[in-house]
């Protein structure tokens, strides 16, 4: 195009945003209820169709198992769910060329039960969704520890136990890949970069509702009789397993689509919607962690989608991707799965680092130490994480030449991870620490992740890996990184930001109780597992050596207390948010972060004016520190800041 851009300024239509109309429609419009009804109808339709097509095949009659039915039922269920919630209105309207008239946006409490395009509503919806996953998985963890109380007396039968273990692992992994990106990433990234909207709000809402659909799909595995493979789903055990396996494969495929779309939207938003002046060297460190995570989400998840698709084809269409005897390979699944699976590990670690980096300066009243190193560390971890996946296969009989290489890359990844520790320790140095609940959780992240990280070095060393692979040692290792790192960081973030999200403060006394019980019992639960692993207990066993009973019982009892500590959190949440709400001050922690500078409750458009950023948000306790941002006054003083960052014509 040759016309000048300035002409566009006089365009008649105002800028894009969420439309905070009060909706008409009520019960008959689209909401969770219609989604459930449509999902149910879809399930029945798919079930019928699968039986209709599948009835001709002898192997189905012989085994009494029709994977096609199970798959189509779930596929139609998810499609019906998305149709019912309204996720498909817009894509369908586009076919006849309509733009942006698919959804009415609601205000009031009912919007939390609808397909809402406001990233703040989606963030809250994600909190609920994540907690649903988390507490279901936690319940199953309690069942696991109950069974392991005694090596010979069994509460559950062997096959039930395997189902519990597998379901626990899968639900928790699904939860962990979204636990921070979903709720806190979606809620706070636009606020932190000074954006008034997301780049693709429909894709964002789509990611939420597929995530919720994933919960129903993976939960259906229990109704289908469970699956015996653990969260790693190794083939050909996968191929010989029952209908619950279809739920696992399809569930992971659905979740991976949710992960992809969530990461896609966040990455594009961070790249394009940063407010004027929000240069890459001023972006908050949490946003750095989210964009690194988003890159991993968008690029690694498609591999999981493909792996799941191939697994489904093996079960539904009798291909032989993972069946060695028919020209496939059991290693193919291991490679595809871990090629996704290792970036996934950092999808679950990086947002935690980001939260810690964001919160520690606030409570230390010091600038973040070595900001550039923190950002470099996250990007470094994200890049390296694509080159380490075969360390999961050290004992599997892969080409032995590869092992020194993967040992090296795996150990290299501890360098950028070490950056995060440098940043934390540097910020703590001569700080003035205020012991608020979020700060305690952050310090616990460093405490726990250190154990997780150092034990990871043991695992990466091939000779030592012979002892620790596939046992309770590695189990303890990744609980220390994921639960000790990520989940602690998630709670740090929740305690820190809930006053902004809901305008209500969490009760500090209950928060301290929650923290100390969770911290102490977490360590008491999982530290003994290192010893149990060294003493030779493999993972996922329902029976074990009699001499390990004391340690296992100790771990189990601590685990029950750990489970109880979450009840304190739930009580706190309900008490201080709903039953006896305490109005939060506008900026209770005196944070300099941009997200705290808007009004509470945050208006639909976040910022009245697009702020112009002057500096990074870490100038704590600094004499003569520059203003964070110009939030605009009448008349606007910052028009010059809007000079073109990008020229639209270059994209045509």
């Amino acid at each position: 195009m040759t016309t000048s851009v300035e002409a566009g300024v006089e365009a008649p239509e105002p800028p894009a945003f969420i439309d905070p109309r009060k909706g008409a429609g009520g019960w008959l419009s689209q909401h969770v209820g219609t989604a459930i009804v449509c999902g149910f109808l879809g399930y029945i339709l798919g079930h019928w169709l699968g039986n209709y097509i599948g009835s001709a095949y002898p192997y189905i009659a012989n085994s009494g198992q029709n994977s096609l039915t199970d798959f189509l039922a779930l596929l139609f269920m998810v499609t019906g769910w998305l149709l019912g919630i309204g996720a498909l209105n817009y894509p369908l309207a586009k076919i006849v060329g309509r733009e942006a008239k698919g959804e009415v946006q609601y205000t009031g409490w009912t919007r939390y039960f609808r397909y809402n395009l406001d990233h703040k509503v989606v963030g809250i919806q994600y909190v609920v969704g994540v907690l649903l996953f988390f507490f279901t998985g936690g319940l199953l963890a309690m069942a696991i520890r109950t069974e392991l109380l005694n090596p010979t007396v069994h509460v559950f039968s062997a096959d039930t136990y395997i189902k519990i273990v597998s379901e626990h692992g899968t639900i928790m992994m699904m939860m962990a890949s979204s636990v921070i990106v979903g709720p806190l990433g979606n809620y706070f990234v636009p606020l932190m970069i000074g954006a008034r909207r997301m780049a693709f709000p429909r894709i964002e809402a789509f990611s939420l509702w597929t995530f919720i659909a994933g919960y129903f799909v993976i939960f259906s595995a229990l109704a289908y009789g469970g699956f015996p493979t653990g969260w790693t789903g190794y083939a050909p055990l996968q191929t010989q397993a029952g209908p619950g396996m279809v739920s696992y494969l399809f569930g992971f495929a659905v979740i991976s689509v949710g992960m992809m779309t969530a990461g896609f939207n966040l990455a594009v938003t961070i790249i394009n919607y940063r407010a004027p002046g929000m240069t890459w060297s001023r972006v908050p460190v949490f946003v750095w962690s989210i964009i690194a995570t988003a890159a991993l989400l968008t690029l690694a998840s498609p591999v999981l989608t493909a792996a799941g698709l191939f697994g489904l084809l093996d079960k539904v269409d009798q291909t032989a991707f993972y069946v060695t005897e028919h020209g496939g390979s059991s290693y193919l699944w291991e490679n595809l799965f871990w090629f996704f699976g290792h970036p996934e590990v950092y999808i679950m670690a990086l947002p935690g680092f980001g939260i810690v980096g964001e919160i520690i300066p606030v409570f230390c009243r010091k600038p973040l130490f070595a900001y550039r190193i923190a950002a470099a560390g996250m990007i470094g971890v994200a890049l390296l994480s694509f080159f380490v996946w075969q360390h999961h296969l050290f004992q599997s009989g892969i080409d032995p030449d590869m092992r020194p290489l993967f040992m090296l890359t795996t150990e290299l990844i501890s360098i950028p991870t070490g950056f995060i520790f440098l940043v934390g320790m540097g910020t703590l140095y001569k700080a003035k620490i205020r012991y608020e609940v979020p700060m305690l959780f952050c310090m616990a992240v460093y405490f726990n992740f250190l154990i997780g990280g150092v034990s990871g070095v043991f695992l990466s060393d091939v000779p030592v890996n012979v002892t620790v692979h596939g046992g309770f040692f590695v189990l303890s290792h990744f609980h220390y990184t994921i639960m000790g790192g990520l989940i602690f960081a998630f709670f740090a973030g929740l305690y820190f930001w809930l006053p902004k999200m809901t305008g209500r403060t969490m009760n500090k006394k209950l928060g301290l109780w929650h923290f100390w019980t969770m911290f102490v019992f977490f360590n008491l639960t999982f530290f003994p597992m290192f010893v149990i692993g060294m003493l030779g207990q493999p993972r996922r066993v329902f029976t074990y050596a009699k001499n390990l009973q004391t340690l296992n019982d100790f771990s189990s009892i601590a685990a029950f207390c750990l489970g109880a500590s979450f009840l304190i959190f739930v009580a706190n949440l309900m008490w201080s948010q709903f039953i006896a709400p305490q109005k939060a001050p506008a900026n209770p922690w005196d944070s300099l972060g941009l997200e705290w500078q808007t009004a509470t409750p945050i208006p639909a458009y976040n910022f009245e004016r697009i702020p112009v950023i002057m500096t990074d948000p870490y100038h704590y306790s600094e004499e003569g520190a520059p203003e964070l941002a110009d939030f605009g006054h009448d008349p606007p003083v910052h028009a010059s800041s809007f000079t073109a960052r990008t020229d639209p014509n270059q994209y045509e």
């Binding site: 900001y371 190193i373 003035k432 070095v457 000779p463 030592v464």
Partner: protein, 329 residues
């Protein structure tokens, strides 16, 4: 007391932390190395167990100071650098608070150096330990002297082993849902549910599976190798002590995964020879029924079992000749 003197100068803090760190590290490292180290599981029954225990202890001696250092830093900060609740803290910013090039560079240099040393150390240990008892796949590059000869002869059915001959003893581990069985190719290829190996001998475990992925974990022998269908996964170790050991499956393989274990025994070379020759003759009838010895065995999908893939559409499987060619050469 002024805040300045309360928190002391920069030099004091750093020096104090370093001194405490050095003392604690040295003491704990020495305590670990001499008191705990020799007892680190799984013990010293084989060459790989001994070597890997040494590796574990070296990593521990390097890892302990790291853990101590960070924890000490956290603890020191928590105790020394806090303010009372509700007090609004004063300014602590100032030069160096947002970064310090010297600190950053030395951190990067030190961590990189340590990490590279670890990788080099791990690689050397892996090579020196003939693969350290881990499964090396069908074509191991790290193996003891005589392994190729023994493995080749075993497949050809011409292998032999006798006490004090210093020959490598090939043992085949066959995993199936849910039990390991063992074949001894140098003794007529008999199969047994018992794993008995001679002392003071290099053992080549050839691990394969008849169905799903299992993992052969001979705990005290410090051998771990996944059992994959249609693949021979070889791991080496040298027995150095008599005694009992435990074999467990360490890769989830279905509902009875937890019950997939059996005891094993390291016996003297002559006792092993007696056991092996006796079992070879008592099992002779059944050995004749067994499939000819091969590194892998392919299930027959046309039996009463299976039927997942319809018969007739599938090319009959070839077996031995392919896998013979993939053997250590």
């Amino acid at each position: 007391m002024s805040p300045e003197s309360a928190i002391g100068s920069e030099e004091n803090h750093f020096r104090r932390i370093v001194i405490i760190w050095v003392v604690l590290s040295v003491v704990l490292d020495l305590l670990f190395w001499f008191l705990v180290g020799p007892h680190v599981p799984p013990g010293r029954m084989t060459s790989t167990a001994k070597d890997n225990q040494f590796d574990f202890n070296v990593l521990m001696v390097i890892g302990l100071p790291v853990v101590i250092g960070v924890w000490e830093w956290l603890g020191y900060a928590a105790v020394k650098w806090n303010v009372k609740r509700k007090d609004m803290p004063e300014s602590v910013g100032g030069p160096g608070a947002a970064g310090n090039k010297r600190t950053e560079v030395s951190w990067i240099v030190i961590t990189t150096f340590v990490v590279l040393c670890l990788a080099v150390f791990g690689t050397i240990a892996l090579y020196a330990g003939n693969g350290s008892g881990s499964g090396e796949g069908p074509n191991p590059i790290l193996q003891p002297a005589g392994a190729v000869k023994a493995e080749t002869a075993a497949l050809a059915g011409t292998g032999s082993w006798s006490p004090n001959s210093n020959e490598v003893l090939p043992v085949q581990v066959i995993a199936q849902q849910w039990k390991f069985t063992y074949r001894y190719p140098t003794f007529g290829g008999f199969e047994s549910p018992d794993l008995i190996v001679p002392d003071n001998t290099e053992i080549a475990f050839n691990v394969t599976s008849l169905d799903v992925i299992h993992s052969f974990w001979a705990y005290q022998l410090e051998v771990k190798a996944d059992a994959n269908p249609m693949q021979n996964n070889v791991a080496f170790t040298k027995t150095e002590q008599l005694g009992n050991f435990e074999v467990r499956c360490s890769e989830l393989c279905g509902i009875w995964h937890g019950a997939m274990f059996n005891p094993g025994k390291v016996v003297s070379e002559s006792a092993f020879m007696t056991w092996a020759t006796t079992t070879e003759s008592t099992n002779a009838t059944n050995t004749a029924n067994l499939a000819p010895f091969a590194w892998t065995y392919v299930p027959d999908a046309n039996g009463a079992a299976g039927g997942y893939y319809p018969d007739g559409n599938v090319t009959p499987y070839s077996t031995v000749e392919i896998y013979g060619s993939k053997q250590p050469s």
